[in-house]
Every structure is written in C-alpha cells, then in structure tokens.
C-alpha cells in the first residue's frame, strides 16, 4: 500500500490549522481531505474511503464528540485522533472509551501526531498484505 492511498481527514473550524496540517501531511505523501465541522466531515466519511481522522472537538458546525459517535457506527475500525484546547472538553479516558485512538491537547506536537499516523499506515499496509496472500 502506498502512502498516497492512505487518506487522512482533517476536521477543524480554524482554517489556518486545516491548511497547515493539510500541507504538512501532503508533504509526507499522504492523501488529505479536510472539513470545517463535524457535519461536513461525516458527509465525506460516508462518500469516500477515509483511513484516518484528525478532528477538533469544539466546532460550530457539528462538534467532534458527535462525529466520533457517528463514525464509530459507520466504521468501527476507523482510527480517530481528537484535539482539544484542554478546558471543559472531553477527557482522554472518555474519548478512548468512545472509540478514539488518542486525545491530543493543543498546541499539538506535530511529530508525535505523524508517528501515530505512520503507525496506523504500517498496520494498514501489513493487514492488506496478509489478506492478499
């Protein structure tokens, strides 16, 4: 499996964050989609094949917690990383309980985020290989 076949979905109401993260992961050869809110993101998940979701929690147009629950119903195995600002939002334990791969507090460590994506990509490649055999 190629990295260009591995599709990331970046969800944040802050355009600058969307833009920076998109550029970053495209430079790492991943395919990147982006959405400004939960509802838009869900539309994309329904229409396209998405391998990994990075989502903000507080967003005017459908928040991240809802997105988490909905995606879990559609694709139980789709890994999701949630980003929070660290106040009055969902806790890490709760997020993982609701199916998130991990919870990162802004400002995020982008290298760590890339490692998580990389790990998932490797796993996806291996499981694809084993199904081929």
């Amino acid at each position: 499996m190629l990295k260009s076949d591995f599709v990331l979905l970046i969800v944040d109401d802050e355009p600058q964050i969307r833009e920076v993260l998109t550029q970053y992961f495209e430079l790492s050869d991943y395919a990147v989609e982006s959405a400004s809110g939960g509802r838009e993101a869900l539309d994309i998940v329904r229409k396209k094949k998405i391998n990994f979701i990075i989502s903000d929690v507080r967003m005017p147009d459908g928040d991240g917690e809802e997105l988490l629950d909905e995606v879990r119903k559609l694709h139980p195995d789709l890994p999701i990383i949630v980003m929070v600002t660290g106040f009055a939002e969902i806790s890490k334990a709760e997020a993982i309980k609701r199916g998130a791969l991990d919870l990162l507090v802004k400002p995020i460590n982008i290298n760590f985020l890339e490692d998580l994506v990389e790990d998932e990509f490797q796993r996806a490649s291996q499981s694809e290989g084993s199904t081929k055999i």
Partner: protein, 931 residues
C-alpha cells in the same frame, strides 16, 4: 428476826436471779425476743417512780400528815393522761437525735450548747445525789430492821461493812445492767427488764403485806377504815386541807409530782431514752396509773393497822416491814424486805446510769476536749462512765453517812422533785415555742437553780444545823424580805409553795425574756422548728441526688472521720460506724460523693457519736475536726445559711430545694449551652456560606475566563506550532521556497497578534479592582478587549455577535474605570452566552446610541426574555436562576453598582420580546474636562 448472813444471802440470791434474767434477755434480744419490746415492760419500768420512799415512806407520810401523800401519785396520773402527747414528741425527737439524757435533750435543743449542758448537769447531780442517798439509807435501815429485835432497829447494829456491801452491790448491779454498753441511746433492754421485774416484785410485796394486814390481821378494808377515827387526831390531820395555804400546798405537791414523772432524770431515762416504740406510750397511759393505784391501795390500811397495833409513830416509815415481822411472818417479811430493796435498787440503778451519762457527756468530755493533756481520756469513755457511776454511788453513800437522819436527807425527795421542775419550762418550751433561745435556756436554768438552791437547799442545810439559823429567820444580809422560805415577803405558806412559786416565776420569766431579748441563731431556728414540728418518722434522707456533682473525695474525708471517732471508739467500732453510715446513704461503693451527701453523712455520724457523748459534745467533735475545707464550708453555708434563715425550713426540705435549684441551674446552663452552640453553628455556617459564595464567584469567573483563555490561546498556538513543523518538513523534503517561507511567517505573525490581543484583554479585565482608576477611554478599545476574550468561545458554539465597531460613536471617549467597566461588559455578554448556549437560535446584538451626554449601550440576545416575577429580583445580590455551581448571583447586582458609581444605570428593557439589557453611561469631552 433474821441473822445478817441470811439477809445478805437472800439479797445476793435475788440479785443473781436478776443478773440471770438480764443476761438471758439481752442475749435473746438479738433474736427479737418480744417480751423486751412489749408495752408491758415499758409501763412497768415507769414505776421506777415508786422508790423505797413510796414503798416505806407513803405509810410514814400518811401516818404523819394524812392524805397528802396521795398527791405524789395523783400528779403522775394526771400528767400521764394529759401529757402523753408531750411524751410522744419527746420520744420522736430522742429517736431522731439519739438523745441520751434529759440534759442532752436540753442542750441539743438550745443550739447544741455545751454551757447549757453543764448547768443542767450540775442541777441534775445536785438534785439526784441526796435522793440516791435516801435509797441507800432505806436499804441499810430496813436491813437493820430485819436483823434486830422488833422496835430496836438501829443502823449502827450492822456496822460499816454492811453499808459498804450495799454500796458495792449497787455499784456492781448498776455497772453490769446499765453501763456495759457504750451507745447509751441504744437502750439497755436487760436493765429495763430487771427494773420491770423489780417493779413487779415491789408491787407484789406491797400488795401481799396489804392483804395480810387488811384481811388476816384485821377484818377487812371497811372494818379498818371505820376504825380510822381511833388513830387519827381529827379530820384535819387526815385530809390536811383547812385554808388557802393548804390548798396551795396540795397544788404545789400536785405540780411537783406531775412534772417529776417526766422531768426527773431517771423518769426521763425510762420514759424517753429507753422507749423502743412510740405506741408503748398508749399502753402506759392507763397501765401506769393503774400501777400507782394498786401500790397505794393499802397505804391507809397499813397505816391504821400499824397505829392500832400500837407501833411507835416515829417508826411509821417502817410499818410496812414491821407489821409482818411483829406477826412472825418470816416469808412475808423477807418478801417485803426484798420488795423495798427492789424499789431502792431500781431507782439507784436508773438514776446512777442517767447521772453517770450526764456527767461524762456534759461535764467531763467538754472539759477533756479542751484540755490537751486530758484529751487521751476521751478514748476511755466506758471506763470513765464506770468510774463516774461508782463515784456517784460512793458519794451518795458518803452523803448519807454525813447527813445521817437529818432533815436534809428526809426532805430530799421533794427537793429533788423541785429540781426536776426547773427543767419543765425549757423542755415544754422546746416542744411548743419556736422562739425559745439558748440565752433564754441559760437564764431559765441559772435563775431557777439559784432560787431552788436558796429556797430549798439552804433551808435544808440550816435545819440540819450546818448553817446559822439566822439566815432562815432573818434572811440574807439580815433582810427579812430575802428569807429563803418566805421570799419577797411571801409569808405564811408552805416552804415548797414558796419555792415552786419563786423558782417558776424566775425560771419562766428568764426563759421568755432571755429568748425575746437574745433571739436564736439561724442554726438554732432550724433545730427549734425540728423540735416543735417533730414528725413521726425519722426517714433516711433518700432524696435523689442525681445531677449533683460528686466532687468530694470520700477516702480523704473517711480518714479524718476515723481520726475523730478514734478518740471515742476502738478501731473495729470506728470501721463499723463509718461503713454502716455509708451504707445508709448507699455511698459505700463510691469514691466521690456530693457536698450535700457529705453533709448528710456528717450529720448521721454526729448523731451516732451523740449517742455516746451527747449532742453538744458530738457536735463540737465533728465541727472542730475540719471535715469541710473552707471552700466547702463557704459553698455549703452560702446556700444553706441564706435560704434557711429566710425560709425557716428543715434540712431535709433544704436538701430537696438545693437539689431542685441545682438541677434547674444545670438545666438552664445546658439550655444556654445548646443555644450558644446553635448560634455559633449558624454563624459559622453563614460565614462559610459567604466565603464559599465569594470564593465560588471568584473561582467561577476565573475558571470561565481561564477556560476561555485556554481555548483562545491554544488554537493560535496550535497554528504556530504546526506551522513550525510544516517549515521543518518542507526543509527536509527540499520543497521550501522563499515565497512559501514568507507566507508561513506572515501567518505565524498574524496568529501571534491574535494571541497578544487576548493577553491585552486579559490584562484589562483582571487588573486590581479594589481601587477606582478613572481614565479616558473609547468604547471601541474596551469592546475590542472584551470581544477578544469572548469571540473564540462564541464562535465555537456558533453564536453570532452582531456589532458594528465602525460606528463613530465607539470613538467617543468615556471617563471611566476601564477595568470595572470591562468587567461589566464581560459579565453581561457571558450572561447572554449562558442563556442562549443551548438554544437553536443563537445571537447577541450589541448597539450603541447617543442621547445627549449619555451613551446608551444595549446588549440583546436571542433568549426569550426574563419572566416578570423574577425581573424584580435579578439585581439583588445572590439571586441566580442558573443551576447550582454555574453562577453565584453576584454579577448583575455588582454590574448595576459599578454603573451607578459611574453616574449611569443598568436596566432591563421591558418592551423587548428578547432579553435586552440597557446600559446608560454619561460622557464628557476631554476638552471640557481640561477646562
């Protein structure tokens, strides 16, 4: 008729028999031998009144003076029927206070005074000793009659050894029957039984002689009486009443005899001290008068018969014995002798026991306790009493030997009666007159005794030839006015009438005047009340002392008490007394007791001790032992003293009252404590609530702010951090171009500006708020800061803020405290946020208008308005409609105050269908300010 040995052997046998009876009954007494406690024994014991003076003397008196002897028995009959209520009261008081003698009774009543006791004791001793001497003489004389030829009776015939034998025997009997035990208030059942037996013996003996004389020697009662004129000179010499003088003489005898039956020390002893049950008095009320009638039944027949038989009138005193002897009636003679011996012995025994107790308790103990070198003697009480009893009998015998057959001895019967009469006013007064005082008792006894001595004893001495007869005939200092037997010109009357009249006038006068002039102390008032009211039962004070604190260390007091009692008892007795007293109050297992309980205990032990050494000495002993420390005394007397003085209540009632008050006080204290606690609790709670409220308001606004700030700052930081990561990535991949580089840097720069705006807003809102800091500032600046803080939050929840910052009105400078004003804005906008957060339609509309010198800022949100009923309240402090934990209710009231301080106002727009707050703020030009 008999030889000496026979007489002595018979006496000896008789006495041994009495010993046996006493020993037997005293042993059986422990097992509740009923006889000992019977009213019969009590009634018979009263007959100790009938001494040898009755047994032999009645006939002698009848022979000489006719019927007047009968007054001696008429008096007691009258008093037994009239005075039984007095006797009952005396018995009650004796039982309660463990009275040991008549002197003890008087001293107990008059403030436990030792002085009164000493005077009374002296009077008793002086009045009793000649009387005992008379009895001794009767024994010796009748013995001589028994052993000599008829009509040749002479005491000399016996020699002094017989006299000593009698003294020795009497002493022995008295010691054995009466002074073996120490607690004299515990009664002497053995002695009383012996006395009762003796009383039966003397009655039987007299009745036998009477029957023999009346029916054997003569032809019956009527026959003898009909022969009376043959032996009597005239009717007058028989009846003895002719004029006022004689009537008064009769009355005098009656008065003396009535008082003697109760107030002679030995009568008091048998009637009061030895009484075991109050109800026995009821029997004695009729049985004793019956006894008196019986023993007098044959007095006249014997007198007449003796005279008819031609016996020498000078021997009339022994007619009773002489008649059977002259008739050769051996057995009857011996029985009669034993009867007379019994009468004498009973009197000697009881009188000696009584006097010995009185002398030791009221003269010796007060003396010994005051003289340190004699103090050790108090430990040998019983031996002291033996000694005193022996000395008293020996003294009486010596008196008899010295005085011999002189007037001073013969007259002593009535003189003794007159001495006893001196006790009547203070005793009857003690029972019926509450005001009788110690000083009254002193005056009564001193005056009475003095007059008694002057009008009766001195004349007796004169008539015996020991004093110049001039005193009698010419009076003291040669003043006829002061002649003893016709005092103050009371001439032509019987010397006894004279004595009774003047002793009673001075005695009663002294008592009443002394009591009125020198009133009672508080403690005496209490005693007086107890005596006058004399309740029937002496109940133990079992008042419930619960609630009174047990503060007194019992073992400490026990040691002191043991020390006190050790002076009078041996170790075993001391332990016994203390432990039984402790048991009585059920405190024997306690370590600490209450003060009132200790007081009870001391009272009890004082009573026990009083049974041995008398009330006054016991009181002295207990009170001088420092059993109560000064503090304890103060505490006790503070309560007792005042209340008792005011209320005149008994210690028992007092005790109840004290407990009641203590309980009440305790209850009140508890109530007060509870109230105080409640108030304190409430205050604390209120304080806590206030603190929590203020803290919460701070925390919640800080928290909200912090949350907002975290959100506001972390997003830009995320952009910056990610941008840096992107640049590095570009560099790695060799995709970095100058154009891209500049682009990213611009982005970072803009983002940093956003952060700095937030920080600036934060600085504004969070600066110190305790001092006013007025300055010129535009609404634009303030609004920018506030929105910088909130916009991110609003944006995140999709709340649209409708504001036109381009409006030139925002450029108008306001003169205000920027921090406080900004806080009002944050507060209002936050309220809007909270109100509409969950609504479908979310917007906030901010508008600025100018009206004259006022700027009107309205903040309207999509909320449905504030219900009418709470519109009134929302500006009140602490009012909140938010869920618990969300708001504190301080916001709107504080905002309103801040605006009012700026000369503006904060209101709700009642017209708007949405929620709309209207702020009115005055403004002025900077130029205006400058000018």
């Amino acid at each position: 008729m008999f030889n000496v040995a026979t007489v002595i052997t018979t006496i000896f046998a008789y006495v041994v028999g009495l010993f046996a009876i006493a020993y037997f009954t005293e042993r059986r007494d422990d097992k509740g031998f009923k006889l000992i406690n019977s009213p019969l024994i009590y009634s018979l014991s009263l007959a100790v009144y009938c001494t040898s003076w009755t047994f032999y003397g009645s006939v002698g008196s009848a022979s000489k003076s006719g019927l007047i002897f009968i007054t001696i028995y008429l008096g007691p009959m009258i008093s037994m029927t009239l005075w039984w209520s007095v006797l009952r009261k005396l018995v009650r008081i004796k039982q309660r206070l463990r009275i040991t003698s008549i002197v003890d009774f008087i001293s107990a009543r008059y403030d436990k005074s030792e002085g009164v006791g000493v005077i009374a004791a002296c009077l008793v001793t002086a009045g009793t000793m000649p009387y005992v001497a008379l009895q001794l003489k009767a024994i010796v004389k009748t013995m001589s009659v028994m052993v000599s030829d008829v009509g040749q009776a002479d005491t000399e015939i016996l020699g002094s050894s017989t006299g000593l034998f009698v003294v020795g025997l009497m002493t022995l009997c008295t010691l054995f029957f009466g002074v073996r035990k120490l607690d004299s208030s515990e009664r002497h059942p053995g002695m009383i039984l012996v006395l009762a037996v003796e009383c039966i013996v003397k009655l039987v003996a007299f009745l036998c002689v009477g029957f023999f004389v009346t029916y054997s020697l003569n032809n019956g009662f009527d026959n003898l009486i009909s022969k009376m004129p043959e032996v009597m000179d005239d009717a007058y010499s028989f009846v003895g009443i002719r004029d006022l003088k004689d009537v008064l003489t009769w009355m005098t005898y009656l008065i003396l005899a009535s008082s003697a039956i109760l107030f002679l020390p030995r009568q008091f002893h048998v009637a009061v001290v030895e009484n075991s049950q109050e109800k026995h008095i009821k029997t004695a009320k009729w049985l004793f008068p019956l006894y008196l009638i019986l023993i007098n039944l044959f007095v006249l027949p014997i007198t007449i018969s003796g005279k008819l038989a031609g016996l020498d009138a000078s021997l009339a005193d022994t007619f009773v014995l002489l008649l059977p002897i002259t008739q050769g009636q051996t057995a009857l003679s011996m029985l009669t002798f034993i009867g007379g011996f019994s009468a004498a012995m009973g009197m000697i025994m009881i009188a000696t026991v009584s006097v010995a107790t009185i002398i030791t308790n009221h003269i010796l103990i007060p003396l010994f306790t005051r003289v340190d070198s004699l103090k050790f003697l108090t430990k040998h009480l019983i031996k002291l009493r033996w000694l005193v009893a022996s000395l008293f009998i020996i003294g009486s015998y010596s008196y008899m030997k010295i005085v011999g057959g002189k007037y001073a001895l013969v007259a002593m019967g009535m003189v003794s009666f007159a001495a006893a009469l001196q006790f009547a006013p203070v005793i009857i007064g003690s029972l019926y007159w509450k005001k009788g005082s110690r000083f009254g008792a002193y005056s009564a006894l001193i005056l009475g005794a003095t007059i008694w001595f002057y009008t009766l004893v001195i004349p007796a001495f004169v008539k015996s030839g020991w004093m110049k007869s001039s005193l009698l005939n010419e009076g003291l200092f040669g003043s006829r006015f002061l002649r003893p037997e016709a005092l103050f010109g009371f001439e032509g009357y019987h010397h006894l009438t004279n004595a009774v009249l003047w002793t009673m006038i001075f005695n009663i006068g002294g008592y009443v005047l002394g009591s009125i002039l020198f009133p009672q102390s508080n403690s005496e008032k209490r005693i007086a009340k107890e005596f006058v009211e004399a309740l029937p039962h002496d109940e133990i004070n079992t008042v419930d002392l619960e609630g009174v604190e047990d503060t007194i260390d019992l073992s400490e007091k026990k040691v002191i008490l043991e020390g006190v009692l050790n002076s009078y008892y041996n170790d075993n007795q001391v332990r016994e007394i203390i432990s039984s007293s402790l048991e009585k109050f059920k405190v024997d297992s306690k370590e600490k007791i209450s003060l009132p309980r200790l007081s009870d205990l001391l009272e009890e032990i004082e009573k026990v001790l009083a049974g041995v050494i008398g009330t006054a000495a016991a009181h002295q002993a207990i009170s001088s032992a420092n059993l109560l420390s000064k503090n304890e005394k103060d505490e006790l007397s503070k309560v007792y003293g005042d209340i008792m003085a005011n209320m005149m209540i008994s210690p028992r009632e007092m005790n109840k009252k004290i407990i009641l008050f203590q309980e009440r006080e305790k209850m009140m204290e508890q109530q007060t404590k509870i109230l105080e606690n409640t108030i304190q609790k409430r205050e604390l709670e209120l304080e806590e609530q206030k603190a929590i409220a203020f803290h919460a308001s701070k925390m919640s606004s800080l928290g909200e702010m912090a949350g907002g700030i975290a959100h506001e700052i972390n997003n830009p930081l995320a952009i910056i951090a990610s941008s840096i990561g992107l640049m590095r990535k570009m560099q790695e991949k060799g995709k970095m171009t100058p154009e891209k580089f500049n682009n990213i840097l611009d982005n970072i720069n803009a983002t940093l500006e956003r952060v700095s705006k937030i920080i600036s807003g934060l600085r504004t809102v969070s600066r110190r708020t305790d001092e006013d800091d007025f300055r010129f500032i535009t609404m634009l600046d303030m609004m920018t800061d506030v929105l910088g803080l909130c916009s991110e939050k609003f944006k995140n929840y999709g709340i649209h803020i409708d504001i036109n910052l381009e409006d030139p009105l925002y450029q108008i400078e306001l003169y205000c405290d920027q921090v406080q004003f900004s806080q009002v804005l944050v507060n209002l906008i936050s309220n809007s946020y909270d109100a509409i957060e969950m609504l479908e339609e979310k917007w906030v509309k901010i508008r600025l208008e100018q009206r004259g010198n006022y700027l009107i800022l309205s903040i309207e949100d999509s909320g449905k308005g504030i219900p009418k009923e709470i519109k009134e309240k929302i500006f009140q402090p602490f009012y909140t409609s938010k869920p618990i934990g969300k708001g504190t209710g301080l916001g709107l009231s504080i905002s309103k105050k801040i605006l009012e301080k700026h000369g503006g106002s904060l209101e709700i727009d009642n017209e708007s269908k949405n929620t709309r707050f209207i702020m009115t703020i005055p403004f002025k030009d900077r130029s205006e300010e400058a000018s």
